[in-house]
């Protein structure tokens, strides 16, 4: 195979040969190559097929702006689609393949789309939705649904592996005085100046090497610069992209740690997601060369001029033999000289007629000429050129490569992330960064400076600006004026040749043509934001780095306006794509969110508990004996509690210490029921409302002393209640002398429930008289000692409806308490019970939890009207009476039985009237359980009008998700022991 690699050029290491596979064939490259340079060296022209038309596409650039060479790297679970071949470093064993083609990029069956182009023009999707003209045939979604699967398959790029990502990613943080983005001449000058002025500097470079666009120069050697930077103590981060700027000088960066290594150490992450906080940011992100729109400007062999300079001087690849360069500016002539010195036959078409330029005269310059059409399909055969004033068929040049330079666009993206709109510069035909009040300074060609000395000067000025803004100096400085070419640029975005119907591309990656922009204009999508969305111009993963300005200029021309009047779309992060893996970092799998365990977590597991997540907490779910299923187990546990005794870990409940002289008044204001008369040594169940009158949470508060309470909240609302109490005390009731402290972690809690609970607990106490019915009546509270002199708090509180106690000890004593209680409970054939049994017991009693108190329910809805005091005002007391909460048809808490007691049902079932089974029905079932006590399934839920309205009516439970339906009976939510005789026992 012919190679395009030439001797004596490039900075690759020719002693290190790397093998790689492209589309299942073996090739060789060198250390220092990118995949793109290695493919070019191996004379591979077609590397992909285009998005819609499946046209053959080659390599357009040598950097992040690449919009043609998107390839898939790796295989199986490490398959990474849509990687730019131009930034992928070559490594030994790299596997890559072309995308969006079947069977392959050289021969793609879907290439037929190229000839059906008129059906796939801009707005194709929207129009298909509308039906096919002229009769709007197939209007509606049916036709869309039918075609969608074909369209999805045909359009688009690479596909994801669909397998779990085997790599690890990391989040990292750093801070510094100054972060410099870009290591071109401006960035390096800025970094050195700052380090010499004793600033702590980080220099960021997306490439593997520092130097920026100097890497395209034939005599550039970065080793000296690197030494100098390192000696000054500057932290250099290569292979790191500053993808976004955020508030307060925070920079988001992606470091590609192992993407260039064949067999990375498994202990290091693939990528690192950096958040760097700086005091000042200097952006020297360079500029991006634009192409020119004309017919067939996408045929493989078309490239930017600067890219071919990179391939020649950095990689030793001469990208063409007979090269035509089309330009409107001076930047191409150095490259033209070098390409012809390297042995290519070069012709320059310069759209300008008047220009002075010094060259080595080894190539022809055609002043006042532009290209208007490329002949060829899979490669360039020849180029049609014309005088620039009027485009007429005049001449055809045989060539194998067309290099384009339509001007340069400063990379204003990062500043755009800060909401700073760029301003149009007529002289340089580009957008320039505007000033910002934030500590961000733009240097180098990102400010439209086209020569190296200006860039260096701007870097030093940039650092002076930074020092001044940080108050570290008061030095005058000035930035060089934008520009730097001898001859002015002549705006040239499109060469229009009316006689041809060939496609002329604005955005290569999304196949947006000049005709698409015109169509958008004709159909009224003239705002840039509409143009973008209608044509998808600039919406591919290159975000229009090359094509956006061309699209804007076309729209400006159609509107008879200037480009700045048309405006530009806002660039948003990320500058280049960031993998989802890097965003999530280590927060995957079990580390997705924090895990909370109770102090007796291990004790529970050691005693056979199966665990379940409740919020962040791991709680015992059920304690199966041999071969027991979940339902066997919880039914046994719940019946054991009703028969003898059970022990349940309730530590996850929120616990708040409320202390101070205003405590009683405080509780009286936050709870809907009265607390002013609660005696010391008593607890009370309370309900808190939100300001708007809806139930926020419920729990108990224990009066331990005159001015001291112990509050429990539900597990899920603990943090919210704590914040709420703090907010009230710090913002609204600042005269109340109350202190609230979260003590959730400090106390371990257990519920001892069942007719034998008093005996069990008694055996565990030093003083057996403390919890007699007289000394500790229902809702009584006491502080005493467990055997072994362990201080504890006991309240006679029941969630299960049985005689029950909640016992709290300091967390360190949790296991001792569990051992003691369990040893004694076993004597009464007691059990350990988990959340499932707890749920069964409370549903039988009609006690509500988060499943019912879902943020839409009022006290009255929950059947707890008695809990709303009429003798005082409290949070939510005014708003709970507002009209909409007092409607007669509100859904009220009820119990449900299946009419046929052998049937089951599920939470989520919609309750309907018999002859009207549709929509949201008249209610819903929120919690269900098998009731061991009643011997059939029961449920809690809500129904419009409540028990009174429906107690004698047969209703229907519709469960369309599970394809189930059953007849229901509405009953009182207090399904067993409605008078509560057991708890008072």
């Amino acid at each position: 195979m012919k190679t395009r690699r030439i001797d004596n050029y490039g900075k690759i290491n020719r002693d290190k040969i790397l093998s790689f596979r492209w589309d299942k064939k073996n090739y060789k490259g060198f250390e220092g190559d990118t995949l793109a340079s290695a493919l070019l060296a191996n004379n591979i022209g077609i590397v992909g097929r285009s998005f819609k038309y499946h046209r053959p596409r080659g390599i357009f650039s040598s950097g992040v702006e690449e919009s043609g060479a998107l390839v898939t790297i790796g295989s199986k679970d490490r398959r990474d689609p849509n990687v730019r071949a131009t930034t992928q470093e070559l490594y030994n064993g790299l596997e890559a393949s072309g995308q969006n083609a079947f069977p392959n990029v050289n021969f793609d069956l879907a290439g037929i789309n190229n000839y059906l182009g008129r059906f796939f023009a801009a707005g194709f999707y929207y129009k298909t939705f509308m039906g096919i003209p002229p009769l709007e045939w197939g209007k509606g979604t049916a036709i869309w649904m039918f075609f969608e699967k074909f369209i999805r398959k045909a359009a688009g790029m690479g596909s994801a592996s669909g397998l779990p990502d085997p790599d690890t990613y990391e989040h990292a943080h750093d801070f510094c005085d100054l972060i410099v983005v870009g290591s071109g001449p401006a960035g390096v000058a800025a970094a050195i100046e700052a380090a010499e002025k004793k600033l702590d500097v980080i220099l960021v470079e997306q490439d593997s090497l520092i130097g920026g666009n100097q890497l395209a120069e034939n005599d550039f050697d970065n080793s000296q610069i690197k030494n100098q930077l390192e000696n000054l103590g500057i932290k250099i981060m290569t292979r790191t992209t500053a993808f976004g700027l955020y508030d307060n000088c925070v920079v988001g960066l992606l470091e590609r740690v192992t993407d260039h290594i064949s067999a990375p150490n498994v202990n290091i992450p693939r990528q690192r997601f950096w958040t760097i906080r700086a005091k000042h940011i200097i952006v020297g992100a360079g500029a991006i060369e634009r192409h020119i729109a004309f017919n067939n400007n996408d045929i493989p062999g078309v490239m930017t001029v600067n890219a071919s300079k990179h391939y020649l001087n950095r990689y030793g690849v001469l990208t063409g033999k007979r090269i035509v360069i089309a330009t409107n500016n001076d930047s191409v002539y150095e490259t033209a000289n070098q390409l012809s010195e390297a042995g290519a036959n070069v012709t320059v078409l310069d759209s300008r007629t008047n220009l002075e330029i010094e060259t080595n005269k080894s190539f022809e310059i055609r002043k006042g000429y532009v290209p208007y059409n490329i002949n060829g399909s899979k490669k360039i055969d020849s180029l049609d050129i014309s005088k620039s004033e009027t485009i007429n068929k005049s001449e055809t040049i045989n060539c194998d490569q067309v290099l384009l330079s339509g001007g340069w666009s400063p990379a204003v993206h990062l500043l755009s992330h800060r909401g700073v709109k760029p301003k149009w510069d007529y002289n340089n035909a580009c957008f320039l960064p505007n000033d910002t009040k934030e500590n961000i300074t733009i240097v180098g060609s990102s400010r439209g400076l086209w020569n190296k000395n200006d860039c260096i000067a701007s870097g030093i000025a940039g650092t002076t600006d930074a020092l001044n803004r940080l108050g570290l100096s008061k030095t005058n400085y000035f930035f060089p004026k934008p520009g730097g070419w001898k001859n002015p640029i002549q705006p040239l975005y499109e060469v229009k040749y009316k006689k041809s119907r060939s496609k002329s591309f604005v955005d290569y990656q999304h196949d947006v043509t000049t005709d698409d922009v015109r169509l958008a204009h004709r159909e009224g999508f003239i705002s840039v934001e509409h143009l973008k969305r209608y044509t998808t111009l600039g919406m591919a993963n290159d975000q229009g780095k090359m094509g956006n300005i061309i699209g804007l200029s076309l729209m400006a021309e159609l509107l008879n306006k200037e480009i700045p009047e048309v405006g530009t779309t806002v660039f948003r992060p990320p500058y280049t794509p960031v993998s989802i893996g890097a965003l999530s970092g280590r927060n995957v799998g079990k580390h997705f969110r924090p895990l909370r365990v109770t102090p007796m977590h291990q004790w529970n597991i050691d005693h056979g508990a199966k665990m379940i997540e409740v919020g962040l907490y791991q709680r015992p779910w059920y304690y199966p004996k041999e071969n027991e299923t979940l339902s066997d187990s919880y039914i046994r546990e719940a019946s054991t509690v009703r028969k003898t005794v059970g022990i349940c870990d309730v530590t996850s409940l929120g616990k708040i210490a409320i202390q101070g002289p205003g405590s009683t008044e405080f509780l009286n204001r936050i709870y809907s029921n009265g607390f002013s008369k609660l005696q010391v040594g008593k607890a009370r169940y309370g309900i808190m409302l939100r300001d708007d009158g809806i139930v926020m949470d419920d729990g108990t508060s224990w009066r331990l002393a005159e001015n001291e309470y112990f509050m429990t909240t539900s597990t899920g609302e603990a943090a919210k209640v704590m914040s709420w109490l703090e907010e009230l005390l710090q913002t609204r009731w600042t005269d109340l002398n109350v202190n609230v402290t979260s003590v959730s972690e400090q106390w371990a809690g257990v519920s001892v429930a069942g007719p034998k609970s008093r005996e069990v607990l008694n055996n565990c106490l030093d003083d057996s008289l403390v919890i007699t019915n007289n000394n500790l009546p229902f809702m009584g509270v006491t502080s005493t000692f467990l055997k072994g002199n362990i201080p504890c708090r006991i309240a006679r509180i029941s969630f299960s409806g049985e005689l029950a106690f909640e016992v709290y000890v300091k967390s360190d004593f949790a296991n001792t308490m569990m051992d003691l209680l369990w040893e004694n409970a076993k004597k009464y054939n007691g059990c350990l019970y988990g959340l499932e049994a707890l749920g069964a017991l409370r549903v039988e009693k009609g006690h509500v939890t988060a499943a019912e108190l879902d943020g839409r329910v009022t006290i009255d809805d929950a059947g707890l009207s008695k809990m709303a005091s009429t003798k005082k005002s409290y949070i939510g007391s005014a708003m709970r009476k507002r009209g909409v909460l007092k409607n007669n048809d509100r859904e009220i808490l009820v119990g449900f039985f299946p009419t046929n007691l052998k049937e089951t049902f599920n939470a989520g079932t919609i309750v309907c009237e018999k002859n009207n089974i549709k929509g949201q029905g008249i209610g819903r079932i929120t919690s269900v359980t098998y009731s061991p006590e009643l011997g059939h399934w029961i449920g809690l839920g809500f129904v419009k009008g409540g028990l009174d309205k429906w107690k004698d009516t047969n209703l229907v439970g519709a469960d369309p998700v599970r394809n189930k339906q059953m007849n229901l009976k509405v009953v009182s939510p207090h399904m067993i022991d409605p008078k509560g005789e057991r708890m008072y026992a």
């Binding site: 307060n248 909401g419 005014a878």
Partner: protein, 94 residues
């Protein structure tokens, strides 16, 4: 990333804080009318520019703060404790 200069802890990332709401609302007394409460709870200005808002240093000192922040630029002009007594302490310690 917004950074808030907590009077107690110093400058911290906003990820340590939870947003509260409008800090300028005078909540009516508990026995006030439904109308007054409706006004206080549901009606909010949509300010373009600086506004006073409450933030809770929930992963820090647990102090509720009044932050004067621009809704356009996120610039923060002032931060002080909501509680007037704490405000005084902060002032005296300056």
């Amino acid at each position: 990333m917004i950074r808030i200069n907590c009077p107690y802890c110093g400058e911290r990332d906003h990820s340590e804080f939870s947003y509260g709401g409008d800090a300028t609302i005078n909540y009516p007394s508990l026995d006030a009318s439904e109308k007054d409460w409706t006004e206080a709870i549901f009606f909010r200005k949509n300010i373009k520019g600086f506004q006073f808002e409450t933030w809770h240093h929930s992963n820090g000192c647990r102090m509720w703060l009044v932050v004067e922040r621009s809704t356009v630029t996120h610039e923060i002009k002032s931060v002080k404790p909501c509680h007037p007594d704490l405000q005084k302490v902060v002032e005296n310690n300056k």
